[in-house]
Subunit: 131 residues, 4 copies
C-alpha cells in the first residue's frame, strides 16, 4: 500500500516552555493521521464502533525524537502500514519538515471488541483494503 | 460553605512556547479542583453517573487572566460555590501564588441526565451538602 | 471586516469520557482559528515576536457551551473582530455544525511586549489591516 | 537507587471518548514523575536551566499499554533509573493500580545544552546523585 500523507500545523497548544513541541503531542499528530488514513480508505471509526463493534486502540509504540518541531511549523506525516495480522496492525509514521525527519514512530494498533474490550479479528472488509 | 483549597504544580505539559501556562490549561486546573471538592463532600462523579444518572457539565464560564503561571510553580486553587439552584451551580475559582491572584473564573455547572443529556434537578442529597 | 472561517475535525485527543469534546479544548480550536485569521491577513506570530517584539495573549474570555461536539465531527469556526483598540482586540468566535451553534465565545486579546510582557500598542501596520 | 513513587489521579482532561485514558496522556504522567523524582533528589529543572544551562529532553521511548486507566482512578507511578551515562539516562516507568501494571515505558532522556540544544554531559553534581 502507498504511504498516506497528512499535513499538520503547529499551534501554541502543541508547544511547551522549552519552545518546541511537547513530546507527548507528537502522538496526537500520528493518531490524527491514522484516523485520516482510515477515512481515506472509506472507514469512519464511529461507524465501525456502531456497526461492526470494533475499536482500534494503541497497544504499544516506539518513538524516536530526532529534531524538534516548532511553533508555526507546517509539517507532513507519512503513514505506512508495515504489517497487518488477524487482530493487529503495525504502523510506521514519520513527521517530516521538507526532507528532514523530525520524529519517527512504530505503533502497534490492536482491534478490540467495542463492548468487551478484548482482542477481536479485524473485520474482513477492512483487512481487504489494508493489505 | 467554606472555600475549598486544592494545590496544583505546573509541569511542562501545562506550558506553551510563550514560556507560561497555555490559557486553556487553567480550565483543567479548575476542573480538577471542582472534582476534588465534590470528592471532599463525599461525591464521586463516576458513582453519581452510575447510581443517580447525573453528570455535571460546564454550561458557561468567564475567566480573567491576570498574571501568568510558570513552569514549576506550586499554586493553590480556591473554589467557592456562590449560587446553587435546582439544575445548576455557580462556582467562583481563583488560582493564587502566595497572595497573588493569577487567574479568576466564574463557572456555571449544569446537572444533566447522564443518558438523555438534558437538564435534570441536582439530586437532593447533593443539594443538601452544597448549600 | 468579513468573518473568517476555519474548519476543525474532532479527533480522539479532543474528547473525554463523557463521549463529547472536553470543555477546555474548544479554546484550542478558537486559538487555531485566530492564528489562521492573522496568517490570512499576512501576519505570522513568530515573525511578529521576532521583528516587532509583540505577543498576542488571551486577557479574558466568556464562553457558552450550547451543544456538545462529538468525535469525528467536522465543524466550522466563525471568527469576527468586534472591537479593536490601541492595545487590545475583541474577538467573537462561534463553533458551528451546519447551521447549529455549538459554542460561542467572546475573547479579549491583548498586545504585549514580547520581552517585558507588558501591554504595548498594536503595531500600526497590523491595526490598519484589522479595522 | 530505590524506585521513586508518585501518585496520579485521573481527571476528565485525561480521558477520551473511549471512556479510558487517552494514550498520549500516559506520557504526561511519566513526565510529572520524572520531574518529581529530580525534585526529590534536590534538582529543580528551572534552576538547572538557569544555572547549569542544561535541559533534560526525551530522546526516545518505548511504551506498552497493558490495561486501560479510567476516570477517577488513583494510581501510582514507579520510576527507576536503569542506566546513566555521560549525556543520557534510561528510565523505566510503570503505572500501577494496586498490584496491576497498566502501562510500562522505557524512556531515554538526553541532557542537552539549554541554548545550543546539543548534547551536553550531565553535570557531575547530578550524576553523583543519580548513580
Amino acid at each position: 500500500m502507498n504511504p498516506f500523507f497528512w499535513p499538520v500545523r503547529i499551534y501554541y497548544e502543541d508547544t511547551d516552555a522549552g519552545g518546541v513541541v511537547y513530546h507527548a503531542n507528537y502522538l496526537n499528530f500520528f493518531e490524527r493521521a491514522r484516523t485520516e488514513m482510515l477515512r481515506h480508505l472509506g472507514f469512519e471509526q464511529d461507524q465501525l464502533k456502531e456497526e461492526s463493534e470494533v475499536l482500534f486502540v494503541v497497544r504499544s509504540l516506539q518513538i524516536d525524537y530526532l529534531k524538534p518541531a516548532k511553533f508555526n511549523d507546517f509539517l507532513n506525516i507519512v503513514t505506512t502500514i508495515t504489517d497487518c495480522r488477524k487482530t493487529w496492525m503495525m504502523f510506521e509514521q514519520t513527521l517530516i519538515r521538507h526532507d528532514e525527519v523530525l520524529c519517527q514512530a512504530h505503533i502497534r494498533i490492536a482491534c478490540i471488541d467495542a463492548l468487551k474490550l478484548k482482542p477481536k479479528p479485524i473485520p474482513p472488509f477492512i483487512l481487504e483494503k489494508l493489505t
